[in-house]
Symmetry: D3
Subunit: 302 residues, 6 copies
């Protein structure tokens, strides 16, 4: 064999061997992946996410995908002759809008199932209605009625445990049932967080459209690679965190404080960011972890 | 206690006792219910079907619902500014139509889940994509390309057996995956029949908008209560069966010839027709059974 | 179909649908039925009890029958040339009487097995000897030796759990083993109560020859439909309860205070009283329940 | 330690070590013991049989006892003022006699349970009614109606397998159910043989009141220690076998020809004959085995 | 049968029956046997130990053998041209010695497996490396480095529970892994004691070259048959215990104080001492038991 | 992130994604690895083999290692003052040599266990004695007695299936038991082949000191990447295969003809050759497969 080939081959082996301790650490552990943002729009990124999650499944992890439907819902609402309306960033969801939201989320849900099946892994797409997974309370925005928008009040994880036991990859869209068994729309980040807590996930990973958490959002060089819960509270207290990052970071804190070991805010615009974060020595984005917990990764970011 | 009360009470007991041998006979058996027609439109009938299936589940049967979406698909196709088109009774299904069909079927699917959950039973709504349940071949109508319409070529029942084992009520909408992992629309009767065969169902029941099979469709007094496979073949051969009944009866024959013990064509316009057929001495509609099989029901119809 | 038939059919369906929430509530729960009194003598009532219990089994409950042998024991004692003797209502049981008592109870036990098997359900008839189910202390009546009469001192429920797990209906006759492994006769009510406690039964139902508990036994209009444990204690304290009802009510209180959710004193002279109590909105007899527990049945009695 | 004590101790060890290969050979194998004759009357013998079977159970075998009630039934029939009647050696069994037979067999059955429980092993006493174990056809004696006497026509071994799985020692009395679900008396040898076949027993042992099979019944020195099926057929053909031994030997042949590996006719008058036959190098009575099967025991008899 | 034969036969039966209560008491209980001393050298004794343990296995116990390699290690060390060296009774174990120790222990280990397999029982020979069974800390002798000698610091009993569940007889040699995953030699008594604690053994038996514990080691008539933990502490405190017995007795105390029910110091020079101790009324050697525990054996020693 | 880093990161992801279909194909399949040659001598290679097998285990395969001891046995034989002797390439193995061979193989075996445990995976090291895994016939070399050298005559795979079920990585050294339960040395290639057949392995991989099979051994450019069984027979028939390759290739053929799907002759001198063969698109060495079987790998070699 030629020297050059040999070299290339050995590099391949090294990448695989590098993954060994991570495979071992997370073997049979549950990993909840909140899938959203650009990674849901770009076809190449979409494929890379699905490949990543499928690989996690195959090497012995137990991933659960929670996804939103964002821009497509608005598209279909408009297509139906209605006008999307938002109150404080929350979609005002009357019955007609809810009907469309559920249809769009169902469509996205099954299209992800389809992609996973194509890679030879068994997936099942469910909403929070199935098996009574997500029970919600009606949510108000500053006291204003915004329709069928809900806050998760109870998660019944039986359906997820059953599907995992039977070796399926569960794919969940964030619709829940109210007290009267009506359908309610739920923020996908919130749903992912509530599910991660209920199944006692080892990891919760958010695929986002940013690089991670910055100390100073205006200075890209201030990206934080690891953040303890206390540090996160501090950053928020100091007013450094704003916009869409604030609720996300609160979700991260909430997950960590309720038993999830580690939460990741990943840059979903990097292909295979999930795989790279989990299987290599190189950290991607920002990891939030419990105070005093060992920062074992020693992952470099530059 | 007054005489009249006593009388009424005893009648109640009799109805329950009458159910005893049927509960016993079908204990832990799989029953596939094709749910469609008026029973999907009228709210009262809808509720009665869901109550019936839920009761079947609770007393130890293993029901599976397979449903269509019929009129609602056309409604939404039109709403989206397209015109529903049919070739020989089959919906011409281009990509845009398929997208809408899948959205509508998904919506109907989860609304049934919702109703079952409200009655306290755990349901999971899936399509033929989930777990690779339904694989299809592209279907042509007299050689004409009618788009994403498929014929079931393979059923992978693992997902159904898993859900039944975990005590869920599976609710299936008839979408399948083609060789290239595209979504295809499937006739709901065909899907129900293929599924009943694959899970080796004890019973397959079609909820329809007719009273049953007539010897002479123009004479309502000629309703047939029991029909052997040979008699069914004969009826078809003699040209007595026409219209929408022909493919349905062929499905019945196909099911019986492939291991399903008994197929029922029920009048879905009668509330609780399913319950009455299964739990009482009174037959509803037409039963198709294997040649030489004991016609044990002795059910009267008049 | 004629209007009248249709009407009748719908009433049937209603009875079944009425049963739905009860079937659901008690699914896989253990129900101990103390079977005795007239319901053991009259052939029609006997058949109705067996049908009821068999139906409970088939729809997913886990019934256990505990029965006595009452009048037949005396009959056979006399037939053998001895004279039945009672001390304070307890049968004086010398060795010869015990031998006959055991033979008669065994005969009754297997005849019940026979009836259940005829209805197609697997039953196993055991006494408290089998698997060491019932251990007893010798019982004295006001210090007087009355022979082989025992008080349950320990229940080993393994045999019952094993039989239930293997899907048998256990039928138990109240004979126990003393410290020296001799056979002792046990009051059937006491045995049923001890067993209900040991298996953590959801319900304990006594089939009796009275309508239920009366506030004033001389006034049949004072039948009590629901009674909390405190109210039961009060009634006893007030001296309203006498005769055979006193020990029975004490058994009820004992059962409730040791984990059984609800105890029923049913009128075994009403055919299918068990079925009606459990599956319909109409209460039969008197229900005893824990203080503060929801009186959810809303069952009417008149 | 003194020499003499040492000697005695080593002999004890030798007996235990001698048992080792036999314990190993029959580990987890089913052994059906037909218990009858003197061993059921003499209290010491009774105790020795129960000790033997209990020991078999404890060291890992799966024994099943099938017992008769012989002389006691007649005793109780007479006690009830009737006269025992026999036709060709079969008890004429009218309804009243059957009732007594069942009571007596039930009493014997539970007294054996009692003895086994006393030795600390869990037993369950059943008849052929329980779990539908024994189905019978009515038996006629030379065309004459002799009442409720049955021939086993079907064994449903589920109940036995379930009890063995749950680690109980099943004790069976030979009563079966006819087509109309009436109780029928069965010859205990026949019942034991039918059960041994149905559970695919490794061994079937008859405890009898003779030393074994003789070549010449008038010459005690002609006791046969091992007999192949062919040799047994021959002996019968030559007219050497008569009296009660003929049906017993036919049962042995039947068992061997239907999958039981070895049948033993043991002298139940020797204490612990069962233990000695199974655990020592010394054969007791006559062993019947398949043609060509290795006569591996090399057991001496003198 | 002749009188003398009969007599002899009955004695055999008695020995077996005598074993019955002991078989029952220890059924499915774990018994750790420390195998060492003369019983490992003399071929006859070796065979008798293996027969005993195999019999224990066959009658339902769960024995685990822990063995040393003692004299053979020195023999091979010398054979390799090195000189065995001891510090305070502990073998000074440099890398070369450790290599030889492991080879010798491995050889002994597999030769025991071989003997058990020959008796028809499945054995697996492991060291403390397999499945991470024994983790050690480096041991110093009065501060002096004596090489690869370890103290057990952690037992991971999974491998033992797995092998027992799969019906193997585990045979363990006392080598453990240090923090750097090097091999360390462990005292076999210590290893047996640590394992007995970790698997929650019912019994721990040491096969030794002495008769048992003496009150006065110089007077053989002062052999103690039963010793409570307090009495053992007292004996040690009084200085009566010395030499090799001191650490052994401390191990016994440690085991009892950590959940093992009874520890035996047996005279391994008596053939089948293990069997006799466990299966007969005669005690062998000294039993150590918890304070206040019932001295149920009533075994005589003289 | 810099462009160059990004590039490197994406290449890492590609390697992992490349592995996806192979992980999927061999999920839960058994892979027998014959470990020998240089890869057992060089410390770096040793580590790379253990890493590879451990990774296979972690991602869901079921690897079994079979190893030899080759040069080390000779070394220790000499160390003990004996002279290694070979007849036709087979080691003449008298009792003393066998003792040493077993000790050395045991040492190697446990050192591999140690390395796997260090990587955090549970391993158990066994020989063919454990659980009766390998039964052998004495082997003669051209009729000449060469001592304790055996041919596998029977494999009892129970122990391997049990260990795999309990999630251990079995490591096997090639010693077997003869009819008299003596230890025999077995050629490691033969043992690996016999084991692969008995456990119905998906793959059997030989780590060797050559690049693979050559059409013309003198011309390195004639390396064959895939070889059907027929082609292999042909090559042998044509006399192209000689030396140590002949028995190895015969083992390959034997394995394929007895149910193993694919056999690999890998160059053990390439680090991670096992991983690269299994997880990448690049074939290493020569694959032998059944006639007519799809050559699905499309792996390139150059």
């Amino acid at each position: 064999m030629e020297e050059k080939n040999m070299q290339e081959i050995l590099q391949k082996a090294e990448v695989l061997i590098e993954a060994l301790p991570y495979i071992q650490r997370f073997n049979r552990k549950i990993i909840v992946v909140k899938y959203g943002g650009s990674a849901m729009v770009d076809e190449e990124l979409k494929k890379s996410v699905i490949q990543d999650v499928t690989l996690l499944k195959l090497v012995g992890f137990k991933p659960i995908i929670v996804h939103g439907g964002g821009k497509e819902i608005s598209k279909w609402v408009e297509k139906s002759g209605m006008k999307p309306e938002f109150v404080n960033g929350l979609r005002k969801t009357d019955a007609a809008t809810m009907e469309i939201a559920e249809m769009v989320l169902g469509k996205v849900n099954k299209s992800l199932v389809q992609m996973v099946q194509e890679l030879g892994v068994n997936a099942i797409g469910i909403s929070g209605k199935d098996g009574g997974l997500l029970k919600v309370d009606k949510k108000y925005s500053d006291g204003q009625d915004i329709g069928f928008v809900g806050d998760v009040k109870e998660v019944n994880p039986k359906v997820l445990f059953d599907l995992l036991e039977k070796d399926f990859l569960p794919i969940v869209c964030p619709i829940g049932l109210g007290d009267e068994f009506d359908a309610y729309n739920i923020n996908a980040d919130d749903a992912a967080c509530a599910i991660a807590r209920a199944v006692n996930a080892e990891k919760l990973a958010f695929l986002t459209d940013i690089e991670g958490v910055y100390k100073d959002p205006s200075d890209k060089s201030t990206l934080i690679s690891e953040l303890s819960v206390s540090e996160a509270h501090e950053l928020i207290g100091d007013g450094f965190i704003g916009g869409g990052m604030l609720p996300k970071l609160n979700n991260c804190i909430d997950a960590i404080e309720n038993g999830v070991s580690r939460v990741h805010i990943l840059d979903g615009r990097i292909p295979h960011c999930l795989l790279l974060e989990i299987f290599t020595n190189r950290g991607i984005g920002t990891a939030i972890l419990g105070d005093g917990e060992e920062r074992f990764y020693c992952k470099s970011q530059n």
